[in-house]
């Protein structure tokens, strides 16, 4: 091969990779985080009740039921669910800021479970796949501020920001993973799946044992860090805009409640957690035991459709009771 042919071949490879990158960028314009942000964009100037959180909120908060309940009490409102699965408080902060920047939000409902409010978000660049990839393009400066990147991860983060193929690698890999799962299911008993994936996988998001769970509670209580920096940032943003915040301990599967939420460490943790939330100017609502029927859950942590409807109705009723003059009175 001559130098000329090597240069031409290399240049052509690069060109094809650039073209592929553009195609990926184009295809990724419909990724789930972008869809969520467009949903927020397309809401009216006023959002009366905005739900923010991870997949628990994404599945558990039914804005239609909330609106219906308010309407039935004579107070029509606009409710919006900006919950996004597979996200952490940093992404919630970004979504909340996105909404607060463009709309007049009256009430923010932040759903969480376990010690999520306290969980810090040290991230590596390799963690930023799937919905976490929104950190590359939605207010990346917040990622730099809160994610505690090592210097290598910071360099990688800034590099990946320039290339759609790297940003959206998780989406590409997810398709291959789906293919792998389809192959793995051949000849095997059918595995349950829900909108997020395999329910049994979500057991991985729970603690291995009550002892580990209690230890985590005790560690947080010892350190006194009940609200992680992104959560504090979210509360500050909302307070600065005069938004009423209600932090909701989301309904959990009866097994989860029985295994973890009856522990003395959790009781004490919850008490202190509530105090920390209320000190930040937010209201705290314990809804963890609101749905005692197992059948209303699609896995150990996510509500199914009927469970979501029931929870949303009960939440709306509470909000109505808490603010007799209306969450807000719509003009």
């Amino acid at each position: 091969m001559t130098r000329r042919t090597v240069l031409i071949a290399s240049a052509l490879s690069v060109l094809i990779l650039v073209a592929a990158n553009l195609l990926v960028g184009r295809a990724a314009s419909n990724s789930v985080p972008r869809q969520r942000m467009r949903t927020i964009d397309s809401a009216g100037p006023v959002i009366d009740v905005l739900g923010i959180g991870n997949s628990l909120m994404a599945t558990g908060f039914d804005p239609d039921t909330v609106e219906r309940t308010f309407r039935a009490s004579g107070r029509p409102i606009i409710a919006l669910n900006a919950g996004l699965g597979a996200t952490n408080p940093l992404e919630h902060l970004i979504l909340a800021r996105h909404a607060l920047r463009q709309h007049s939000v009256k009430q923010l409902i932040y759903g969480f479970f376990d010690q999520q409010l306290s969980d810090d978000v040290p991230l590596k660049n390799s963690d930023l796949i799937g919905n976490h990839a929104m950190l590359y393009y939605a207010e990346p400066q917040l990622a730099v501020r809160y994610a505690q990147f090592s210097w290598m991860d910071l360099v990688a983060f800034q590099t990946y920001r320039c290339c759609a193929m790297f940003q959206e690698r998780g989406n590409i890999w997810a398709k291959v993973e789906k293919m792998r799962r389809a192959m793995a299911s051949v000849g095997m008993p059918r595995q349950a799946t829900n909108q997020f994936g395999r329910p049994e996988d979500f057991d991985l998001l729970e603690f291995v044992s009550p002892e580990e769970f209690s230890k985590r509670c005790r560690d947080v209580m010892r350190a006194g860090t009940f609200l992680s920096p992104p959560i504090q940032g979210l509360f500050q943003e909302a307070n600065a805009k005069g938004v009423k915040i209600t932090v909701v301990e989301m309904p959990m599967h009866p097994w989860h409640v029985k295994t973890f939420y009856d522990l003395p460490a959790w009781e004490e943790f919850r008490r202190l957690n509530r105090q920390a939330v209320e000190r930040s100017g937010a209201a705290y609502l314990d809804a963890s035991h609101w749905i005692p029927e197992e059948t209303k859950f699609q896995d150990h942590i996510h509500l199914g459709p009927s469970g979501a409807a029931q929870f949303s109705r009960m939440l709306a009723e509470r909000l109505i009771q808490a603010a007799p003059s209306g969450v807000t009175a719509r003009r």
Binding site: T5, L12, G130, A174, G197
Partner: protein
């Protein structure tokens, strides 16, 4: 004839994979050129990128 066909396929695959440096068939001389190699390398790189994800990272798969 089947064996000859298999041999030809084998030679082509070896050439594509860099095992053999000799082009197996004269009719495929366009495979010597930079356009072919540039395209082939890009295809390999894209395939590698697409398949290099670790399945252990996927709990949620709704994105």
């Amino acid at each position: 004839m089947m064996l000859q066909l298999l041999e030809k396929i084998k030679s082509i695959l070896e050439y594509l994979g860099g095992v053999s440096e000799d082009l197996p068939l004269e009719s495929l001389r366009w495979m010597r050129g930079p356009l072919w190699w540039g395209t082939w390398w890009a295809v390999l790189i894209l395939s590698i990128v697409a398949f290099s994800g670790q399945s252990s990272k996927f709990i949620y798969i709704d994105f």
